[in-house]
């Protein structure tokens, strides 16, 4: 296992799977502006996926492409965090998931712009601008709905309670993260966690939402040991055409 390849798959699989989830909203959002914004977010994430998985495929050096990685791996070879695999639920749950991811994504990408690997720094520099915008939007929406009506507040609190145990995985370092940090490729996740916690706390305070009093964090997504049951269902859709018509050009 090459930790650099693993790391790049983590970055790309997160954006791929979250992009897929967000794209499920197309045509079904509460207002047109949100349809546009969600499609735009999905589009950015898929674009970032092309860069991360493209680099991963190069680093692997087995002649695979970004599309091969996206379309021809089974669930166990994915390195997406559990958070991004979670179902959309209602619009509030989708935006809560988005914010919990965006806040981490932003800090991570900021750190990665300083990577000793120029290709990583370059991708991060491109992505960080998009993600800066994502986090502005998702935090505004979480605040607006959290501090909106009683109904919207309760739904957002329920979404936070549901998704909170999936946020911790993003910031919990493992051997791959440690190796990446040691090599100067990626930032220290414990530092990211501090910034992440501060960011989450301030947004939730403004949103009048209470962060659950538990640090329990599910794990198994980014290591690939134990994904959610959702991932397999995502793949049946996502990979359908490539699996059904192997070798075709689209």
């Amino acid at each position: 296992m090459d930790p650099y390849f693993e790391f790049l798959c983590r970055m790309g699989d997160n954006t791929l799977i979250l992009g897929h989830r967000v794209s499920e909203w197309c045509g079904h959002a509460p207002v047109i502006e949100e349809d546009i914004a969600l499609a735009n977010t999905a589009l950015d994430l898929i674009g970032q996926t092309q860069m991360w998985l493209g680099l991963a495929a190069e680093v692997e050096g087995k002649g695979r492409t970004a599309d091969d990685l996206a379309m021809l791996r089974d669930a166990w070879d994915f390195r997406s965090a559990l958070l991004v695999e979670q179902p959309n639920g209602d619009f509030g749950q989708t935006l809560m998931r988005q914010f919990l991811f965006d806040a981490w994504h932003l800090e991570m990408l900021k750190g990665l712009t300083q990577s000793c690997e120029p290709r990583v720094a370059e991708i991060a520099a491109k992505a960080v601008k998009e993600v800066q915008y994502h986090v502005e939007r998702s935090s505004e929406t979480v605040i607006g709905l959290g501090d909106g009506t009683e109904v919207s507040h309760d739904k957002m609190q329920a979404a936070l309670n549901l998704l909170w145990p999936f946020a911790g995985e993003l910031c919990t370092p493992d051997a791959v993260d440690d190796a990446m940090h040691a090599k100067g490729i990626a930032p220290d996740l414990t530092t990211i966690r501090t910034a992440y916690d501060t960011h989450i706390e301030s947004v939730m305070a403004e949103a009048t939402l209470t962060i659950p009093d538990s640090r329990f964090a599910h794990k198994g997504g980014k290591s690939g040991f134990q994904h959610s049951e959702h991932l397999g269902h995502i793949l049946t859709q996502m990979q359908w055409l490539q699996r059904a018509y192997p070798g075709a050009t689209w």
Binding site: G27, P30, I32, D35, I143, L145, S152, Q242, Y245, W250
Partner: protein, 311 residues
Amino acid sequence: PEKLATFQARIDAGDKIEPKDWMPEGYRKTLIRQIGQHAHSEIVGQLPEGNWITRAPTLERKAILLAKVQDEAGHGLYLYCAAETLGVTRDELTEMLLDGRMKYSSIFNYPTLTWADMGAVGWLVDGAAIMNQVPLQRTSFGPYARAMVRICKEESFHQRQGYDIMMKMANGTEAQKRMAQDALNRMWFPSLMMFGPSDAESVHSEQSMSWKIKMNGNDELRQKFVDQTVPQAEYLGLTVPDPDLKWNETKGGYDFTGPDWDEFFEVLKGNGPCNTERLAARNKAWDDGAWVREGLMAHAAKKRSAKMAAE
């Protein structure tokens, strides 16, 4: 009547009518109906293509399709804004869509069944839409004409992307070729329907023509579409599903079989393959989104009053 004459003279002179200008009630109503239907078509039109976003075969195709569907929502937005200048709100128009008082283009009541449909929708449906819309860039109502300029530019981009998908399929494996032909078989006649019934049977047409809300006859545009599209199909190596299609040297265009107008009117009545699903999807989106719209409005109101209190 004097106002009316001046109004018609302005139109005849090629002036643009602007929202604050006087206009006859019929002009206003017809425009609201037409722009509203067009806006609804963009919104409902997200659904058949949205159906394949999660199954797009490559990351690149997924991105292109996402961008396209996003553009459609954007078109819907411009058009609702254009309609709003006529004194109707977006929510009013939306409610008329949702309860069936207003229509959207019947083409979106057909299903998208294979990836080739993403090509065929771009090539044929956007192709037919452009044919309808290009002349509307010169329509008499300013906001509508300006929206059309922007929309047409993007639509022709979409059409090229659709044709590109068809090219890939037509030059692909046997299965892909078959997929492409199957898509053409299903989409051909519904695309011809997009120009509306024969002029002879079309209501409102004459008045709309003189107001420059409608610029061309339905049959004329349909003929133009066929003449443009048949060579494209030939280039793809696909067969237009019309055994009676043939070049007519005298008229300098193709003779072709018209669509099944009984089917067209069934679709208008709600009996298309997907009418129920499309409307159900839009109603669900609207109903499920109510708490979100209310929540965000409540928050905005809180912020406004906090700001006022601070001042």
